[in-house]
């Protein structure tokens, strides 16, 4: 088949040209125009605490208009339900938090179906736990239905929490005869969020979405979100029906895990976030971090060599081998609690990217 016709093809090409032209213009702009050398510290920055207070006290703009914009989407609810019933998943995008919109849709329109909400914007979500909950909700729904239609038909089975994820998925994928209106819904805020961005999570979500008794309603905020999925996921598993629904609602919860760019002169790590991360780690990992912090407070200039840390940790029976220590360190590095640098004599050193006072405070709060 030849590519003669195309109302679109030339248009797309045009788009591509504009895109590349803009890119080079922007690049050129930044080099030809003398790069501004102004420092962030030149701004009269307010104290971080004050800034945080001010962020939580920002006066919302256009509250009424945003609410009526959200209300205007209510007309689409019946269409959305129709598409879910037809086996499609819904994917909402557009600027503004869609948390309220999705939950309102779920609680007013999806009343016939069990609904489980996943907050993908949080730093970590355990997919296995989600699947267990889905299976429980579905099992409730089926039990109730069975009771009403064909009488009690109880089956003894092991509890969902002890089943493998494969078994749970095949339970969600049961083929019910003569009823295709029985399913549960999974609402995912930010399916492109930090905790779900990895390919393994996406693979599991795709498998959940492809189960016959599950429908998915999700939102994305990142402009590159479609890159998360391959052809198989898009065409045969998620089966998205896209909706552009900008809400302009503030990203109240979604944004709460991002650092403030003007706090700490752009230093991304703060005592508070470090504390939150550390508290979620094991006591041993915390102790390893403490050794490192104490060393850094004592020797301000240089980082701690890995060997020295290992010896110290062994002395205190915190780790028994290098592998365990490395796993702790990987965790620290992933959360940007620790940076690796090169010492003057060539060996790798560990450094916590926090100023001394902050570090002291952190140690205090960590107890």
């Amino acid at each position: 088949m030849d590519l003669r016709v195309g109302e679109e093809v030339p248009m797309e090409e045009d788009d591509e040209f504009t895109l590349s032209r803009n890119y080079f213009l922007a690049k050129e702009g930044s080099t030809s125009r003398k790069k501004s050398a102004r420092k962030l510290s030149d701004i009269d920055l307010v104290d971080e605490q004050v800034l945080r207070m001010a962020v939580s006290a920002i006066k919302p703009k256009h509250e009424k208009e945003i609410e009526s914009l959200l209300k205007s989407y209510k007309d689409l609810y019946s269409k959305w339900l129709f598409e879910l019933r037809c086996g499609f998943g819904l994917l909402m995008y557009g600027f503004g938090s869609k948390k309220i919109l999705l939950e309102d849709f779920a609680s007013t329109t999806l009343t016939d179906y069990g609904v489980v909400v996943i907050n993908g914007y949080l730093p970590s979500v355990n997919i296995k736990q989600v699947v267990i909950t889905l299976a429980e909700v579905l099992s409730d729904q089926l039990k109730h239905k069975r009771k009403n239609s064909t009488g009690s038909k109880s089956r003894t089975q092991q509890p969902f929490s002890s089943q493998s994820i494969e078994d749970l998925l095949s339970f969600l994928n049961l083929q019910l005869p003569d009823d295709n209106d029985c399913f549960i819904c999974v609402v995912i805020h930010n399916i492109d969020g930090p905790s779900l961005r990895d390919s393994e999570s996406q693979q599991y979500l795709a498998r959940i979405a492809s189960c016959s008794l599950v429908r998915m309603v999700a939102s994305v905020d990142h402009v590159n979100a479609p890159l998360l999925w391959d052809k198989k996921m898009v065409h045969t598993q998620f089966n998205w029906c896209w909706y552009h629904v900008p809400t302009f609602a503030p990203y109240k919860f979604e944004g709460s895990f991002f650092p403030l760019v003007l706090a700490n002169c752009g230093n991304s790590q703060t005592t508070k976030t470090a504390l939150v991360v550390l508290q979620s780690l094991t006591p041993n990992a915390q102790s390893v971090f403490k050794i490192l912090a104490e060393y850094q407070l004592a020797n301000e200039k240089e980082g701690m060599p890995i060997n020295a840390l290992y010896t110290k940790c062994r002395e205190r029976f915190l780790v028994s081998n290098q592998v365990t220590l490395n796993s702790h360190l990987t965790e620290f590095k992933d959360h940007e609690l620790v940076k690796v640098g090169r010492h003057a004599d060539g060996q790798d050193c560990l450094h916590i990217p926090l100023p001394c006072e902050a570090l002291g405070q952190l140690l205090q709060e960590l107890g």
Binding site: K61, K74, K79, T133, S149, H222, P226, F253
Partner: protein, 729 residues
Amino acid sequence: MSPSPISMPPSSPIADDTTDDNALQPFFVLHKALPQKCDRKAAGSTRTRRKIDLPPSSPKSPEKSDAVASSVGPNDANYERLRLEAFDMTWSKIDTTIKEVLTRVHRNLFAEVHQWALESFLALKSGKPRNAFEIQTPYPLLDDVICKQIPTAMILTKNAEFVDDMLTFQELGEHLKSKGCHIANLSAMDFCAKDGIAGCLRSLLRQLVMDAPDMADMSVLSSWYCEPENYDHPVIIVIDDMERCSGAILADFIRLLSEWVIKLPVIFIMGVATTDTAKKLLPSDALQHLQSSKFTLGSPLERMNALVEAVLVKPSFGFNIGHNVAVFMRNYFLGHDGTITSFVRALKLACVKHFSMEPLSFLGIDILDENQVFLHGKCDALPDSLLKYAFNLPSCKRGKDCKNSRDDLGEGLSDLRKLLKAWSSVILCLYEVGKHNKIQLLDIFCEATDPTLSSLDPSNHKLERSFNGQNLAEGRLDFKGGLIGQLIHTVRELPLSSLIKLLDSWSIHTEELCEVHGEVRELQSVVKSSNGGNNLKDRQIDCHRMSMSLCAGRTSLSVNGKAAALLDNMVRKFLMPIECLCFHEIICFRNVDILQSALIGNPRRNIQVDLMKSTTYIKCSCCSGNENVLSPTMHDTSVMYNLAQEHGDLVNLQDWYHSFKSTVLGTNKLKCPLQHSPMSKKVKSSPSESEASIQARFCRAVIELQIAGLFRMPSKKRPDFVQRVAFGL
């Protein structure tokens, strides 16, 4: 009949009633299904319906009809349920047809593979151990490499995309299963380095052995194979996409199975894109355990033609697509990824959108039924509001005058059915010609649905223009009218042998089109008599120039000319695009924009447009006005994004902050902040807006832009800059 929740007035205003607790839980149960709903659903689903039940609101009960007419809108829940059921019926028919078509396309290959599998199995069996005990003992190990070879069918997919092939391999599996083989479908997911060989082994056991213990052990498999019902059948392992498997794990798997192959007759079927895939992926010691044979799948275009014929051209589903949608879907197929899967998905989405948007779409399933009783019954039961709606459809308005009665609707729909059947016969006839030119059915379909090509309009001479024009001489085709014109021209050029075959196929396609069928038969007899005893195979007869005096009293025209004239006549008379027919809206989906936006979300573009033109969504009185001036009352993030457009790929945070500050304080009236050198300008804070608050708003806007993925945050190297990620829409 359960009232759908959406029929309830949306009284609750949208409010943030989520507790903060829930928002910080990784996940939570929002609610469980309402029990009373389940009851009604269960009761409703026990009723069996061959035909869709009509809602109780029949106009024949006069005391009700008025009230009903006023309340039954196109969105009424009862009708919505009808449309949903109609969709289910329609799509399940289409889906079954698609599956049948694809299986038909692959039938030969499947048979070949089955034959090969049987032969390989026999070859394996010739050296197999005699009793169950020997099968279950892992030792002694075999030393001879030849004995340890696993027969492997390498199926060349000829396709860079693997989605289509997944379905093919699944079907192949099902086909072989129906012939008595044991089948396990493994995917690349099972061969990932993380799970190691245990992962694929476990998956294999899960599929073959019922109640398999969750452990990877070959002895489980061998004892399963020794059970009488499993014994003496080949175990076929299908791996749909070999390229995506982890080479090391696959190699381990092959080595492991090769140790068992004499005892457990394992046969591989692997999908590969090129012939050297296996060489690239596997180390030589694993490769030598494979005894490979090659097979080739049909091309996507081949499948596409069969699919278009069965689903789009033959009017048997009560759902069709208009010209714009057809062109869009063709471009989507060609330009997007060339997979049948994506095409079918687009078709399904079009179908869903049609049934969700078109109030009368539920009539579609009955329109094409031979027995029109149901259709007329349904039309009789329509409430006045829907009847009025039907006669207000644009196609009906431009059509003939009707009395707008229920009978007229029924008649109109019956006519639609007849016209569609004739239309589809003509397209199939055209396609028979197209096969000689390697013209694809989808291209013909696209042209034949073009409403500007209405053949009923006598002033329309596009066809002639196109094949007299220069385009044809140059071998180039003009889309509008070009293809069909070229096809008619092709008929004139056909050699006699092909013409005979063509006429045979025409006579099949026009069976229900009496007047044309007669002419085709006549032509057939003329050709046969003129051909006489000539042996076509020996002599290539190019007879288009051979002028033949036909039956007495007729003009002397070549048979080719006659056939071309017949085709031309058919096109003019019957190839009436669906969009020119009365009531076509009921079965024809035309809204290409809706389909496109639902199918291909474009977050990169649209999120930027949202930010650049926030005032089009937030319809407030304060911010509208001159688009080039950023108003201080505008959405903060929108202001920030507009300001960032003035920078290069790096945005200096301090510059950005100052221009933001001056904009929100209303001291900067111009959009171009850089030219005004914000540093030199002392911005005075108004007392109401403290510095902290502006900084807070700035920070929040940066976070929101970061969530949208439009900026990269300051790095250690560039602590004072953020980097733009998106350039242009």
